[in-house]
């Protein structure tokens, strides 16, 4: 590793938040507004937009997991879509083959993804940076033919079609609203889980691993243990997102989880902002909306616009949209001074 890359990495780590009382108030205020809005939104929006926001939440949960791995533990994964797929398929197979009530599929999907993440994490975490990225990429690619191979279980290339969860009558909610609230509860739950995880000793250990592996080791952090754990948690969150995805879309097939999904997810979290809690939400919005925006701009070749937009965002906000938002806000009070 060269000197210059070392300094780059240092600057890339998000600066530690200095919690002044005012800032904390701001933060809680903003969060409260956000939550109120999130609860209010499905009663105001057309069902289609409710569905879109539901998918944003699903992607946000998956990105939360990726953020844990990439943003907080500093490990690159190009195979996050594979764990998303594992969660989605676990839920689908349990609902289809075992007729398990859908809420029960979520913990099972989480557990399966966690265990597979742990199993793959033990060898994978001996690799660093680029090599880990490529091995995870290979996992994502390999999963597609593997899903087709076990046709009796997975439905092969035709996939599995499932009935979507129906809202209980007492709620008076429409299907889209019900699914939205499920996704919202899962998203809020996982965000709280990750936030408290990061504040704990584990979070500090992960940051130490990211910022300086050698120093962390010297300080007595069991590197491989925490890295593997981060990988497994990240997989678990992807699995949770995957199971909610299955409820919302009602269909899984190998073509739903190609390597493009993994690459979109990684692009999403980098664009959203690594290491920040709002990064996954912004990334989810990016993954969900930017492809359609690209098509609105140029329907002859949407990819041309999508590619340019990714590059443009990285120019404007090299540390992601969360960082950009932060910088913009920071500038406002400064002018007043």
């Amino acid at each position: 590793m060269t000197e210059s890359t070392k300094t780059d990495e240092k600057t890339s780590a998000p600066p530690a938040t200095v919690k002044t009382p005012a800032a904390t108030r701001w933060r809680w205020g903003a969060l409260a507004v956000l939550l109120v809005l999130a609860v209010y939104a499905p009663f105001q929006l057309a069902p289609f937009y409710v569905f879109q926001l539901t998918m944003v939440l699903v992607y946000a949960v998956a990105l939360l997991g990726l953020n844990l791995l990439v943003g907080h533990a500093g490990q690159i994964s190009l195979g996050h879509g594979a764990f998303f797929a594992i969660g989605a398929y676990t839920a689908a197979i349990l609902m289809e083959r075992a007729a398990l009530p859908y809420p029960l599929t979520l913990p099972v999907a989480a557990a399966v993804a966690f265990l597979i993440g742990l199993g793959l994490g033990v060898p994978a975490m001996r690799l660093r940076g680029l090599y880990l990225a490529l091995v995870t990429l290979a996992i994502a690619i390999f999963l597609v033919p593997l899903l087709k191979r076990f046709e009796e279980l997975t439905g092969g290339s035709m996939g599995l079609t499932l009935a979507k969860p129906q809202p209980p009558a007492w709620t008076g909610l429409a299907e889209d609203q019900w699914l939205y609230f499920i996704a919202l509860i899962v998203a809020v739950g996982t965000f709280l889980l990750v936030a408290s995880l990061l504040r704990s000793r584990v979070g500090r250990a992960l940051h130490a691993v990211r910022d300086n592996e050698i120093a962390a080791e010297v300080m007595g952090v069991r590197l491989s243990f925490y890295k593997t754990l981060a990988f497994a948690w990240s997989a678990m969150l992807a699995g949770v997102a995957g199971s909610v995805y299955t409820w919302v879309i009602g269909f899984v097939s190998p073509d739903s989880f190609t390597v493009n999904l993994s690459i979109n997810l990684l692009a999403g979290i980098v664009v959203g902002g690594l290491g920040s809690l709002s990064g996954p939400v912004l990334g989810g919005l990016f993954v969900m909306f930017v492809p359609s925006i690209s098509q609105d701009i140029n329907d002859a070749a949407p990819g041309v616009i999508f590619g340019l937009l990714i590059i443009a965002v990285m120019y404007v906000a090299p540390t992601g949209l969360a960082g950009l938002a932060g910088r913009l806000i920071k500038k406002i009070p400064r002018k007043k001074e």
Binding site: M1, T2, E3, S4, T5, D8, E9, S12, V70, I76, P123, R126, L127, R128, G129, L130, Y131, A133, L134, V135, L137, A138, I139, I141, F142, P145, L146, K148, R149, I263, L266, A267, V270, V271, L274, A300, A301, P302, G303, V304, F306, G307, L308, L309, I310, I311, M314, Y315, P318, T319
Partner: protein, 293 residues
């Protein structure tokens, strides 16, 4: 036995294709520590330039020369315009920029040239060499020969020229390279130009065998990654040998291991990579120090 040898030859043919692109990947990685996801797409785009020239009546060899020159300039231009603005940003940001470039170039090629597959002239004779019961296509030999030649030229460039020395210096320690007076920015651009040129050679070699279309290199890229990982991301020789091993291994596994079959043979490079990396994380020919990202 003849069947087995034939499988190996088939594997070498595929491996040579992977190796040619892996060579370009390794070049960029050496200089910048970046895995350029758009490398294959740039190669595809270069090949379309050559195709357009040939279709316009330019002779194949002249078209090739023009394409290599244009690719070199294009590679440098991309470094200056696309990569330079995010220089100094976290590596992951740059990787994502190359992903954006991948999507952009792929879509642009489809937009300009449509998705119809195109015939690309084969510089090598169409026949085959009969060695006993084994058939070796001349095009396989040609690809292997050109890949070897490119590798040799790169070796000469790096080990025996001043520019090459400067490039190696930038690759190992850019800050220090600046202090001895090397214009690092231009050297990096040179590296991109060189990688784009090698990529163009790869595209021109691959196109007659895979047919030219915008997704021609996307499948090859994955195997080129595997080849580079196997050989070591900082070793051009390793990339080529890695490519050949990957090609042979997946072909043999697909043919002889019943459970794997044709559908799961893509898992073979995965297993090889995993095994190699666990035993020797820097790859077969890489240097331990280079594990940088």
């Amino acid at each position: 036995m003849a069947g087995f040898l034939q499988q190996i030859v088939t594997g070498l043919g595929a491996g040579a294709i992977y190796a040619s692109l892996a060579l370009a990947l390794v070049l960029i990685y050496q200089f910048t520590g970046i895995v350029n996801f758009a490398q294959g797409e740039l190669a595809m785009f270069s090949t379309y330039i050559a195709w357009t020239l040939v279709a316009a009546g330019v002779s194949f060899w002249l078209a090739l020369v023009i394409t290599l020159v244009v690719s070199f300039a294009g590679g440098m231009l991309i470094e200056r315009i696309v990569i330079r603005p995010v220089e100094g940003a976290p590596e992951l940001t740059i990787v994502i920029v190359t992903v954006g470039l991948f999507i952009f170039v792929n879509a642009a090629a489809g937009w300009i040239w449509t998705f119809l597959i195109k015939d690309f002239p084969n510089p090598f004779p169409g026949g085959a060499l009969e060695l006993g019961a084994v058939t070796v296509n001349f095009s396989t030999l040609g690809v292997l020969g050109v890949v070897g030649l490119v590798m040799g030229l790169l070796y000469l460039l790096f080990q025996h020229t001043k520019i090459g020395l400067g490039m190696r210096a930038v690759a190992t320690n850019p800050a220090s390279a600046r202090l001895v007076g090397i214009r690092v920015g231009w050297t990096l651009a040179l590296g991109w130009g060189l990688a784009a040129t090698v990529g163009a050679v790869s595209g021109v070699l691959v196109a007659p065998l895979l047919f030219l279309e915008p997704n021609m290199m996307a499948g090859v890229l994955i195997y080129a990654f595997a080849a580079a990982t196997l050989g070591g991301f900082d070793s051009p020789v390793g990339a080529v040998i890695g490519g050949l091993i990957v090609g042979v291994a997946e072909t043999l596994a697909g043919a002889y291991v019943g459970f794997i079959g044709s559908d799961l043979k893509i898992g073979v490079p995965l297993l090889i990579i995993l095994a190699v990396l666990l035993l020797r994380p820097q790859g077969l020919f890489g240097r331990a120090a280079v594990e940088r990202a």
